[in-house]
């Protein structure tokens, strides 16, 4: 499958480190400079979700149209653990993440055998099954969702009901996961994955078990998406059906596409842009949906490399 991705050529290590450092500094200072921390936390959770998704499509070449099932299920498990079982936030988030990993394993086993469109359709179908399960299961409370999830004290010490404390915890989680993804992509595992994406038959002929690599990438992607979902449940103290609905799967595709598939920073940029847009347009009702659709169309027709992808290409042209 050949979705347009930027090759890693421009991700020169020094550029990467400068970019990462800038991003970190900006995010550390943002709440101090007056940006509404709840908005930032939402954007960070979605950025993590998009990075996880990008691992699968940008580097693995697999378009999953059901990634919301990992985000939402982890959210529900985490919320239930924190609220009904009284678990502290770190254990609740861990529980959510592991639930998503397990689900990723099962779905991966079923879906990996297929390619391209069929893969997307299987993930979509399985995500719908998860949605309807969440709708019916008593512990999710259907349309009402799990509300009033306690924030608790992280490790018994950090009081997460303080917005700033919560923000820096979320930032720490995001940065840790971000660096983890960076390490994966630039490891031998990541290289093989890219080889499989570019030319699967050749990779197989070289002796690599393509299915196993794809499966591992899928499970990793699901786990990180789950981490995003569980964290989000603690931040917003709510787990709802919106997070398992297929439009959420579409949203993460959009964020990654807009930001730039196959780039490291693309999903982050895409997530912040989309969340920012939604925030800005919140008072305008369904115009958000319309604008989201327009961005999709424009990206597919004229902007396939996404923001970061185009920037990288322009930079590469400049350097000759």
């Amino acid at each position: 499958m050949t979705i347009a991705t930027t090759s890693g050529a421009v991700s020169h290590p020094r550029t990467m480190w400068i970019a990462t450092a800038t991003m970190t500094v900006a995010l550390v200072l943002a709440p101090v400079l007056g940006v509404y921390p709840v908005f930032l936390m939402k954007a960070l959770c979605f950025a993590l979700f998009a990075c996880a998704f990008n691992l699968l499509i940008g580097f693995g070449g697999l378009l999953s149209f059901g990634h919301a099932m990992f985000l939402g299920t982890a959210g529900y498990v985490c919320a239930h653990a924190a609220k009904e079982w009284g678990w502290p936030p770190e254990l609740a988030i861990l529980a959510g993440t592991l639930a998503a990993a397990a689900m990723g394993g099962v779905v991966g086993l079923l879906a990996i055998r297929r390619q391209g469109i069929y893969f997307a359709m299987i993930t979509l179908a399985l995500a719908q099954m998860v949605f309807f399960f969440c709708l019916q299961a008593p512990f999710t409370h259907g349309e009402d969702g799990i509300q009033a999830v306690p924030r608790g004290k992280l490790f018994g010490v950090l009081d997460l009901s303080n917005t700033l404390v919560m923000y820096y915890v979320v930032l720490a989680i995001f940065l840790a996961a971000f660096l983890f993804i960076y390490r994966i992509v630039h490891s031998p595992f990541g290289q093989v994955l890219k080889a499989i994406r570019e030319n699967e038959p050749r990779a197989i002929s070289l002796g690599y078990d393509a299915e196993r690599y794809k499966f591992l990438a899928f499970v990793l992607s699901a786990t990180l998406a789950g981490l995003a979902g569980a964290t989000k449940a603690i931040v917003f103290q709510l787990a709802s059906l919106t997070d398992v609905h297929w439009t959420m799967s579409g949203e993460v595709v959009l964020m990654t596409l807009l930001g730039g598939m196959g780039t490291i920073f693309g999903p982050v940029v895409g997530a912040f842009t989309i969340i920012g847009l939604e925030n800005y347009l919140a008072g305008f009702g369904s115009w958000v949906t319309v604008i989201t659709g327009v961005i999709f169309v424009v990206c597919v027709l004229a902007f396939r490399r996404g923001i970061v992808g185009e920037l990288a290409a322009w930079w590469a042209r400049r350097r000759g």
């Binding site: 509404y36 709840v38 709708l135 259907g142 349309e143 009402d144 969702g145 509300q147 009033a148 917003f236 709510l238 709802s240 919106t242 919140a282 008072g283 009702g285 369904s286």
Partner: protein
């Protein structure tokens, strides 16, 4: 302090000097009211833009702005989703300095807003939602539940239907907090009066096609098909029940929550004979008729529902309390003041607010007129009985509210 804050405080001080200490303790110099409602989905007619219009009328009628206070009104659409509703509520309270949220015609969203309001010590005037849990296990010192609730509906409409011979029921229930509460409260009434519940089916909110659920109701052979839903869901159920010959086959429909806007959209030929419990009818006396006239002028000719009336009355009483305390910043204190003062407004008459946050006023059991009995559009109800205030709502001790000692 940034410029905006400085200006606001400056204005506040200036007016305080001019008029006295009127503004001294009102937070940021403005009483900010947020109407959180359904602007685009199935409850938009019974609340929606009409609630915003009712809020404006209440602010004007209170006269509080003439006495030196500044009042600002904002509104938003919660789209019947608790995550959207709670995100708006949090942002309003945290970043936009809203002091009180009103309306919220969706019990799922209302329960979420109820919790957030308590955490941030603001005020929630729940004039839109139905779930009796708001004054039961979810009761809060920051919330006043106005207008109606599921217990009142169950003991009004439900009891009347059972006593008239409808002793076997099948429920079609909207699958969220409101539907569950209404089904639970009505089932209790049916069983208490010696009836049976033969079955229930849960339907997603804002469902368009009820055919398979109506068939199940038919198959159960229950005498009464109880509709534990509201707004667009109810009108769809009733219309489709007519198509599938439910009534022709000998069963009756009980619309447990019906608003005058629903009757208007169904039309009298379809809606005639329905038993409804409401706490406000635009044509009940001169005061309500006068209000209705002003309301129609600002809401496209729609006559006010009891939800609209609730928005009006609750804001009026809230502003009285704020003025008495000369402050809008401590939510629990304001609600305590509201509970200490008896209410008197042109729409609900005289009433009180109980310690569990339940507003008490009389309820009316009405029947929808036959087309021949109606003198014109919106002349739809004939009042069959008045349930006095002290009997219309659940007894204080039965709710399980922690505020009731």
């Amino acid at each position: 302090m940034n410029t905006f804050k400085r200006t606001m405080v400056g204005l506040g001080v200036a007016s305080a000097l001019a008029i006295g200490t009127a503004q001294a303790q009102v937070s940021d110099g403005v009483i900010k009211i947020g109407v959180l409602t359904d602007m685009s989905s199935l409850y938009t007619d019974l609340a929606g833009a009409g609630s915003v219009a009712a809020a404006k009328l209440a602010i004007d009628d209170s006269g509080i702005e003439k006495r030196g206070y500044k009042v600002e009104l904002v509104s938003a659409d919660h789209q019947n989703k608790p995550d959207i509703g709670s995100a708006i509520a949090s942002k309003w309270y945290d970043a936009e300095k809203v002091d009180v949220i009103v309306d919220v015609p969706n019990s799922g969203v209302a329960l979420a807003v109820n919790q957030i309001t308590k955490d941030k010590n603001k005020v929630f005037l729940a004039s839109g939602p139905a779930s009796s849990d708001l004054t039961g296990k979810a009761c809060s010192p920051n919330t006043v539940h106005w207008t109606y609730d599921t217990w009142m509906l169950a003991n009004g409409t439900g009891a009347a239907v059972v006593k008239a011979g409808g002793d076997s029921w099948f429920f079609i229930t909207a699958d969220y907090a409101f539907g569950h509460a209404l089904e639970r409260d009505t089932e209790a009434v049916v069983l208490k009066n010696g009836g049976k519940v033969l079955g229930k089916v849960r339907v997603p909110l804002n469902n368009q096609d009820f055919s398979s659920f109506l068939l199940q109701a038919q198959a159960s052979k229950a005498k009464i098909v109880g509709l534990a839903n509201a707004g667009g869901d109810t009108t769809n159920s009733i219309k489709q029940a007519a198509e599938f010959g439910i009534v022709k086959g000998g069963q009756s429909l009980a619309g447990l929550l019906v608003f005058i806007t629903d009757v208007h959209s169904l039309g009298l030929p379809t809606a005639q004979g329905l038993n409804i419990t409401n706490t406000f009818y635009w044509d009940q006396n001169d005061a309500s008729r006068a209000f209705s006239k002003r309301f129609e002028a600002v809401d496209k000719g729609i006559h006010p529902t009891m939800v609209h009336a609730g928005v009006y009355a609750s804001i009026l009483h809230y502003l009285k309390a704020v003025e008495a305390l000369k402050s809008d910043s401590d939510g629990a204190k304001i609600v305590a003041q509201m509970k200490a003062t008896p209410t008197d407004d042109p729409l609900f008459g005289k009433g009180t607010i109980r310690i569990d946050g339940r507003k008490i006023h009389p309820a009316y059991l009405v029947e929808v007129k036959k087309p021949s009995e109606s003198k014109g559009p919106w002349d739809y109800y004939k009042v069959k009985a008045t349930i006095p205030a002290d009997q219309a709502f659940r007894p204080l001790a039965d709710g399980g509210c922690s505020l009731v000692k």
